[in-house]
Symmetry: D2
Subunit: 370 residues, 4 copies
């Protein structure tokens, strides 16, 4: 109810402010018997960590996760997995410029009004630092999904006007994390990098798109009516800081198509895994892998729009707590573009949505066959 939990069966609850003692969380409902790889969790956190290149914030955060419970002799026990990430870099900063002033397009004013009090240091709870806990939850979820052969790959597909034109099937998504931009289209990487760097030097910021592909999902994930798979994905994505839009399959481009162009014709195919069987496939995938709110076995793909980061190194007009009109100028080490650090967050949220529906789907039929 207070908004710090996500999921139904596989549920992540997080806590922590940017400059408090620590951030952390609890993953409840992770099935028992999973060989949990903690190095993998740490490597996922590394993808989100600040300071990896000059186009992201130069803050130094170790983001060292400590797993406190729920794992015994390397296996998950079915009990809650508690974890903390200490805040190690928060001591000496000066927040006088934001203590009493509301930063434009930030959460300062809305938090202050909603709660009557706010931890202004580094944005407090509204800081993107909170997303590190999502990555921990997502890294656990991904390990559950490995058992099902489900894989999730997000990548930066647009920065400002620079846009990946190729379909994801023409890209090698295993190369995404080889570059600082997190773009698998080698022709665009340098241009995107230089563009973000130029924006950074101007003290400005820029938005873009993260695309995401989920492969290997069985038919049947998602629930009718209110908990359609795309509804839960949309919520998960719009819950990430700085997101302004979500589209699945044909998305906003589908609005100009006619039904005769947009429908995905069914056909049958012989799967590689079992050549004596037949499976139902679709010729096209305008649906984006979801029909009637339920996965149809095709790839799930969607786009997430990110606005430019609100903190800029330029003078802006704003209002202070005494309701006086004042000026404010950004300070400190901020991201000129949130996208390179956002891909792993998008993957993490998607992973938690999918795991949750995999577990929910086990309860759909009287006789279990999945």
């Amino acid at each position: 109810m207070a908004g710090n939990s996500f999921g139904n069966i596989f549920k992540l609850t997080t806590f922590g402010e940017s400059h408090g003692e620590a951030i952390g969380g609890v993953v409840d409902g992770c099935p028992s018997g999973l060989k949990l790889n903690i190095d993998y969790i740490q490597s996922e956190l590394a993808k989100r960590k600040p300071g990896q290149s000059k186009i992201v914030t130069q803050r130094k955060e170790d983001d060292k996760v400590e797993i406190l419970s729920g794992v015994f002799e390397g296996l998950t026990t079915g009990t809650p997995i508690g974890f903390v990430i200490k805040n190690t870099n928060q001591k000496s900063q000066d927040y006088s410029h934001i203590k009493d002033k509301y930063r434009p397009s930030h959460a300062d004013y809305t938090y202050e009004t909603k709660y009557g009090v706010r931890d202004y240091r580094g944005g407090g709870r509204s800081s993107a630092r909170e997303t590190a806990c999502r990555v921990v939850g997502g890294a656990i979820a991904k390990q559950v999904l490995q058992h099902y052969g489900i894989k999730i790959d997000a990548y930066v597909s647009q920065v400002g006007e620079l846009k990946v034109i190729k379909h994801y099937s023409e890209l090698d998504l295993s190369t995404t994390y080889n570059n600082a931009v997190r773009c698998p289209d080698e022709h665009l990487v340098e241009m995107m990098f230089n563009y973000i760097d130029k924006v950074r030097k101007e003290g400005d910021t820029i938005g873009g798109i993260v695309s995401c592909v989920i492969t290997g999902t069985p038919v049947g994930l998602g629930a009718p009516v209110f908990d359609r798979l795309e509804a839960d994905l949309a919520k998960s994505m719009l819950s990430i800081n700085a997101t302004k839009g979500f589209e699945i399959g044909s998305g906003f481009s589908g609005i100009t198509q006619k039904g005769s162009e947009h429908n995905d014709a069914f056909y049958t195919s012989i799967p590689l895994s079992d050549q004596s069987s037949k499976e139902v496939r679709t010729r096209t995938n305008k649906s984006g892998g979801v029909q009637g709110g339920i996965s149809n076995g095709e790839d799930i793909f969607f786009n997430v729009a990110f606005k430019p980061v609100a903190t800029i190194m330029q003078k802006q007009n704003t209002v202070n707590k005494d309701l006086e009109e004042v000026e404010i100028t950004g300070k400190g080490r901020h991201d000129p573009c949130v996208l390179p650090r956002a891909t792993v967050i998008v993957e993490s949220m998607a992973a938690m949505v999918i795991v949750d529906h995999v577990l929910r789907n086990r309860t759909s039929k009287l006789i279990i066959d999945n």
Copy 2:
């Protein structure tokens, strides 16, 4: 968990298939003491009803709501409001063409696989008929919101390539329901109507956009992290049949903007309602009324992308239950364009999200002042 409930405090649970006895639902958590106008609920249902013009399906459905509980001497009592809408037009149809064949881009195949059984008549639970219950929930929610001076207006802003260019503030949103298209831009109404009619005659369908504006919201609706107001709105919209995208404020167009262009500068203003006070406003509203996941008092506005309706009156390739490749042709009375009937559904879902957060927000502070 099975996906037929929506909301936390103000909660709608629905049931019913297209061709069963009745559809219906329960609104639990509606505050007591509301003078419930049942004629208003009926008038909202009328906006969604089939058969209103030649550009929507010609099915005859009365959609007469019966309120069974929760209201006494005209006032809500705080107990659940049960309601049913009888299915009156479902007797004589012939479903042999879909009983064993999976209609492309419909829910037939995914439901069959997920549950092992499906009510194929008219799409069963996956039929858009289910949305009538959302309209009942929304019409109750809207009456709660009237007490807070909150108003919700959705309208058709694009059909295929035909697009409303004007900003919503330049339109008279009170005229939306005066025409069959549900478009408040009088210059476009006829064009849109004729275009949809042309598509209909071709046995085809077309997509488009519904835009929505929410005015009068206080500062403070929404919760940090996972239950941001835009996340809950996104989920609510992507839970509607045929939606493929959601964007709030600047949305997908914000991705090419820089922070210096995109940020909404704060200033102070003297509200009309109390000229001795001051209020915090923003010069622009790229945020779409939500900052840090919480409403900032500005108008909330968002767009929802609808794909073309999947049922077309043309021959298509598909697969049957025996996994044979077959052909299928649409029959019956279907919508060439879902948009004219969707505006009230969009408003209804938005209304339920907002009421839920209004009630949730009452629990935020130790000392209540809202």
Copy 3:
């Protein structure tokens, strides 16, 4: 949140007042593929129905359930099962004696204060009539449990001072519903019947105990910490009107025992079903079938204390809406003892708790084996 839903995966939501149009509800999360026997639901309702003998209320209520959705060609489809029970006997009564007066030990005063308005007719939402919907939910749950070989038997074990001394294993629980008292101890039936009838003639009421035995549960139902099986059973029982206590296994009698007497020693046994295997059993069952909050495969048994019905045919002191001290006398047709009609309600609530945990338990392990 408003308290009209029960369960997590198998969830019942109910609505309806004693003298409104109808009562009803929605069962969401019932697995698909269940051959639903509606006659069985009706026969369960008959066990709770008024007017079955002179020791229960003489009201005439048909309690005819209408299933509106979720079933197709006799099978559950995995979609919500909506149902209504019309109120047929509510027209002509006179409620002037309770409209403005608060009946002692009833919900009149608390509802009025909480909500500012109440449907006083027949107690409105607080009427025990609401429990008919629980019986519908329970009758569906019991049919799911049949697939697991799980059986639930409740019976009246005490009325006033008249108490069944025998252990449940010495009773033939299949005879419980053969008599009007719902007591399987034939030696006590007549005494109990006559005692209740005597109390009735005095215009008074009497309390008692319903005992309940659940057989056939697998090991593993229940969740650690907050959702222990006994915790969920306790909640379910204390949610029934007129209950004041719950005890499981040794219950309140266990408090005077020492650990050395109370502990249930484990041993191994060869099950009849598979003579090549071994199973873990306990010599005694003070635990009542639950250890560490999780079922251990032994019988689950518990007692529920019911207070005497609050409506008596005698003059009592009370207060009216204007806060004046006044007298009130019961009118109409009421139960002198709630127990005979309560056994099926106890069974129904227990069945819903067990089904919910059976489904929840499917999500406990990475590799499913249940």
Copy 4:
């Protein structure tokens, strides 16, 4: 769903095993603006801490709580309060005697079967150590309740056959924590102490009753039907380790009473706080402060039955993982009677139930007046 969260609006999620790194939790939904006294939380933990006298376990646990988030400059901010309690005393123990053997009446066998794996050290998640986190949640809840003048007092009212006969109104409940037994009846303290000590020397354990009184509750807490206040209290109590029963008001003793004896007659009274007003009171309080599931403003009181602790220092028969019948003898430092350490846990769970319903109740009416 996995059972490690409690509450709806004020929600506690806990994690941690007896011998892992740490236990801890998250309180989400605590209202903002509360001056949080952390010393008070620590003093509450001290009431539950082992080693306080010779009649409780001699383990040394510091139980030092670290608050990691949700508090800024002494005030709660409305964001989640994360906390950990390090496990400091878990290093050197020898668990070989329970690694492969199932302790009778413990959770070893059920956890092992449910999850396929368990952390056997000290009972892992099933250890009563987990209740320290409930005390943290309760200590925060109690501070919220202070603002409403609501007070919660639990005490040991029975140990074995030694029973407090006096009504709670005849006892000075402020003296409960002055003695090691936690009994406010000075005539019984020494007898109870000596009795527990005698049982301890025998290597045995004994059960008893904790009684609890809640004063100062407003009329209106609790929800109709499934979330009755007594239902939520019952669940909260039966979720505590070693509890076997719950009764409210007249409880099990009410079953032999007639309605004419049991009903609580209403009258009006002039409250001390406002002598110009009138309030509704009841002459007796068999209801235990709850009518129709909703608080009526009278004291809420209930009893909780605790069985004897399962770990005894005597030889017992049991079964090992290979399903061989073996013997087991308790080792280590255990409680001969759980009651002295349980009173604060009972208070904590009750406090969380009450706070949750105080916040829920803010959403009941269209016009807020509470």
